[in-house]
């Protein structure tokens, strides 16, 4: 398999995720977009882990790294949803652009 394919996939996920973060009003959707970006990281890591192994470096570092990323990503989703929930309770809106009490 050409390394370029999965890497392209990762880049695509990353860019699209970035779009989602910037464009969507719904905070949960923003969170989802970030998850897309995190997924792109794991793809990268796995692919590069393979390349590293082929070059003779420590074989599974990439995968372990990816595992950590998945775990941490999941935990972040939890915290993030909790914050969104809290905000919703206080404001009854999860529109991210309503959160502009503080500026300048």
């Amino acid at each position: 398999m050409l390394a370029v394919y999965p890497l392209t996939f990762a880049a695509l996920l990353f860019s699209v995720g970035a779009y989602g973060v910037l464009a969507r009003r719904n905070a949960v959707l923003v969170l989802m977009s970030i998850e897309l970006m995190l997924a792109s990281v794991t793809v990268n890591l796995v692919v590069f882990g393979h390349l590293a192994a082929e070059r003779g470096d420590a074989a599974l570092t990439g995968q372990v790294f990816a595992l950590f990323v998945i775990a941490i990503g999941a935990a972040e989703v939890g915290v993030g949803l909790a914050i969104i929930l809290l905000l919703f309770r206080n404001r009854a809106s999860i529109n991210i652009d309503d959160a502009d009490l503080m500026k300048y």
């Binding site: 398999m1 050409l2 390394a3 370029v4 394919y5 999965p6 392209t8 996939f9 880049a11 695509l12 996920l13 990353f14 860019s15 699209v16 970035a18 779009y19 989602g20 910037l22 464009a23 009003r25 719904n26 949960v28 989802m32 977009s33 998850e35 897309l36 997924a39 794991t42 796995v46 393979h50 390349l51 082929e54 420590a58 074989a59 995968q63 372990v64 990816a66 595992l67 775990a71 941490i72 990503g73 999941a74 935990a75 972040e76 989703v77 939890g78 915290v79 949803l81 909790a82 914050i83 969104i84 929930l85 809290l86 919703f88 309770r89 206080n90 009854a92 809106s93 529109n95 009490l101």
Partner: protein, 203 residues
Amino acid sequence: MTGVDVAMLIVVVFGGASALLVVSARNVVHAALYLVVALLAVAVTFLLAGAEFLAWTQVLVYVGAVIVLILFGLMLTRAPIGPVAKETDVGRFLPVAVSVALFAMLMTGIWISFDGVRLAVDAPTTTAALGDVLYIEWAFPFMALGFFLTVSLIGAIIIARREEGEGPAPQLDTEVAPGRPVPAPTDASASPGVTAPAQEVVR
């Protein structure tokens, strides 16, 4: 072009398309479902790259847990489940431009650096091998990760839990007009001698 290549290309197309749908779907629940597809595409990529354990982890953690969590979140926040009229007040230009620029930059880099590099997936990584590495070489980060997950859990609980007895009374969401901020109370420490009930009065 091998079969793996073809499979990968299909994954790229499907995964990419569903990712695009995630960020562009008018209906948030649809978006969440598209996210499932995109994450499954990632899992397939893992499989193709020989990371079996990781693929299953991905499916379990993300498709199994995270998506459910998100759906719960969507429901708890009583988000307008139907289509959203206005996507953003940022406007579309900036997100699109950023996204396209990022993609272009990354692709250029990837093409320059990895054009023609092949992944030779002979045999998938065994879970045992991964476990060996994880629990010996990476034992310390793993423990730290464990602690981190604990902290996140407690943090999420603290934030998400409704107040009982301590501090201000629970919110009555219905009394608050959507999109309007609740009048921010004065700082709790404003009145040193005043105890919690007084703050309820403030509410």
